[in-house]
């Protein structure tokens, strides 16, 4: 049986429909990426899978005893909330120190077990969240825009880590992402959402669809333009500086 089966799912908040008629499944060991513009229902879909919102219509069925490892976007860490990495790892399960360390190592962080969570860098922080999600060896990892706040190389590193985890544990991965180019290459399947499923399939086939082009084509071009612009700007700026020095 598939890990997760979603049939004709409709979700709404009050009168606002967030998702309509979504059907999809996730198989053992596959990497599925959800892309879509803001407000397209990506997060709502994940929330429905973990049971945080209930379907108005349709159904979500999961394999009996399915273990989910959830990696949130961020934590609400008030400055007055002291918590060490080790304590965070032990929030829901009793673990000895060496087990904790082995999971942290799997997620690519070593020697941080006694650090405060608030003292970690963005990349380290996300890896600790990943390490905690790996506890109990889940059948599927679910990541909600886990690289938000990381720079491009940082998120590329993080996705490589996920890839490694998948290889070593064989778990399935379901993730939402904005970093299209980075994610596309490592996904088995891409689902493009915009209130409903616009298109889905292998990364190459999705990129080629007119629906995807319409949603992201101009956006991707815009990002490139922005990059060029800032590059030009930095160049001009340094030229001005050198003039000033002369």
């Amino acid at each position: 049986m598939n890990l997760i089966n979603i049939e004709q799912l409709t979700l709404s908040y009050g009168n606002v429909i967030a998702l309509k008629n979504v059907s999809m499944e996730i198989n053992r060991g596959e990497v599925v990426t959800i892309v879509g513009p803001n407000g397209s229902g990506k997060t709502s879909l994940l929330k429905a899978i973990i049971g945080a919102v209930h379907p108005v219509e349709g159904s979500i069925s999961v394999k009996p005893g399915l273990k989910i490892g959830y990696v949130p976007q961020r934590l609400n860490l008030d400055p007055t909330l002291p918590i060490s990495v080790g304590r965070f790892m032990r929030l829901t399960e009793r673990l000895d120190r060496s087990t904790c360390e082995s999971y942290l190592k799997k997620a690519g962080v070593v020697g941080l077990i006694d650090q405060q969570m608030s003292e970690l860098s963005g990349g380290q922080f996300q890896r600790v969240l990943l390490a905690r999600a790996l506890l109990g060896n889940p059948d599927i990892l679910i990541l909600d825009e886990a690289t938000q706040g990381l720079d491009q190389p940082g998120s590329a590193d993080f996705y490589r880590q996920i890839e490694e985890v998948r290889k070593s544990t064989g778990c399935a991965v379901l993730m939402i992402s904005h970093d299209l180019h980075v994610v596309m290459s490592s996904s088995d399947r891409v689902i493009c959402l915009n209130g409903h499923i616009c298109c889905c399939g292998t990364p190459e086939s999705v990129i080629a669809t007119p629906e995807y082009q319409e949603l992201f084509g101009s956006g991707a071009g815009g990002a490139l333009a922005l990059y060029r612009h800032s590059h030009d700007h930095a160049h001009d700026h340094s030229a001005e500086n050198s003039k000033a020095i002369n």
Binding site: L46, K47, I50, G51, A52, I68, Y70, P72, R74, L75, N76, L77, D78, P79, T80, L81, P82, I83, S84, R87, L91, T92, Q116, I142, D144
Partner: protein, 265 residues
């Protein structure tokens, strides 16, 4: 032993300290400071109505504290933000309460006792109510600790671990209602939030793990009660505010200490 008013005051104060420390940590972590304040103000309406029908103020305060919390969680995000709603209801409830009290003829009511509390006037039956409330809240928080803490860190994470953050929020709200209700006689409406926040805020600076923060907040609360009562006896000052002043002094000292420690590194 309980016949001595100072002993009763001390026991009441320790009861409050034990319950306000862990709850205060959650209030600080979840940034609910204003929420606690609003609940306390709203409880005044409950106090007034209880006096009008001549029952114990505890239940009136409890009911209105919970009503207030319930209204704001239900209504927020629709037309007004939580902040605005809290402002509207807390001060209106307080005002309506004060107006109702002014209509009560025949009974001479010392409202100051409910605004600032009068820990020296705590009776044996008050003491049993305070300690029952304390034990109920401590029981609730211990029982739900893991779920509450996870929901505080991230709601989705809590859902994925099989907890229901909405229910945990309700448990916290009810605990806050009970705490406000039992502490009205001790420190009064205006100082309840202080006893929730100040010890927790002071403790947060000192420690590195959440459970130790709760424990330290408890110790700071108890010290504030002990020293505060002693100081109010010696200097003949009102006990509730004196307790809060001691807590504030500890907060300032802790912050000076941590600032110095950072400098020396």
């Amino acid at each position: 032993m309980l016949d001595d008013f100072m002993t009763r005051a001390l026991l009441a104060g320790i009861g409050l300290a034990l319950v306000s420390a862990p709850l205060g940590c959650f209030v600080v972590w979840r940034r609910m400071a204003y929420f606690g304040d609003a609940t306390a103000h709203a409880a005044m309406l409950g106090v007034a109505l209880s006096l009008a029908i001549q029952t114990d103020v505890f239940f009136g305060a409890l009911i209105f504290a919970i009503i207030m919390a319930w209204i704001t969680t239900q209504l927020s995000g629709r037309n007004y933000s939580m902040d605005t709603l809290l402002g509207v209801f807390s001060h209106s409830f307080l005002a309506v309460g004060l107006v109702i009290v002014s209509f009560l003829s025949g009974v001479r009511i010392d409202l100051m006792a409910y605004l600032f509390g009068d820990i020296l006037a705590v009776s044996k039956s008050d003491l049993s109510i305070i300690w029952s409330g304390t034990l109920v809240v401590l029981g609730l928080l211990t029982w739900r600790w893991k779920a509450l803490f996870l929901s505080t860190l991230n709601e989705q994470l809590a859902y994925a671990s099989g907890f229901n953050p909405t229910r945990e929020q309700l448990i916290l709200t009810i605990s806050l209602g009970i705490t406000v209700a039992v502490s009205i006689k001790i420190v009064g409406v205006l100082l309840i939030t202080a006893m929730l926040i100040i010890p927790a805020a002071a403790a947060g600076n000192l420690v590195r793990n959440p459970e130790i923060m709760v424990f330290s907040a408890g110790v700071i609360s108890c010290i504030s009660v002990l020293l505060g009562l002693r100081a109010s006896y010696i200097f003949d000052t009102p006990p509730g505010p004196t307790i809060v002043c001691i807590a504030l002094s500890i907060f300032v000292l802790v912050n000076l200490f941590t600032a110095l420690r950072k400098l020396s590194f």
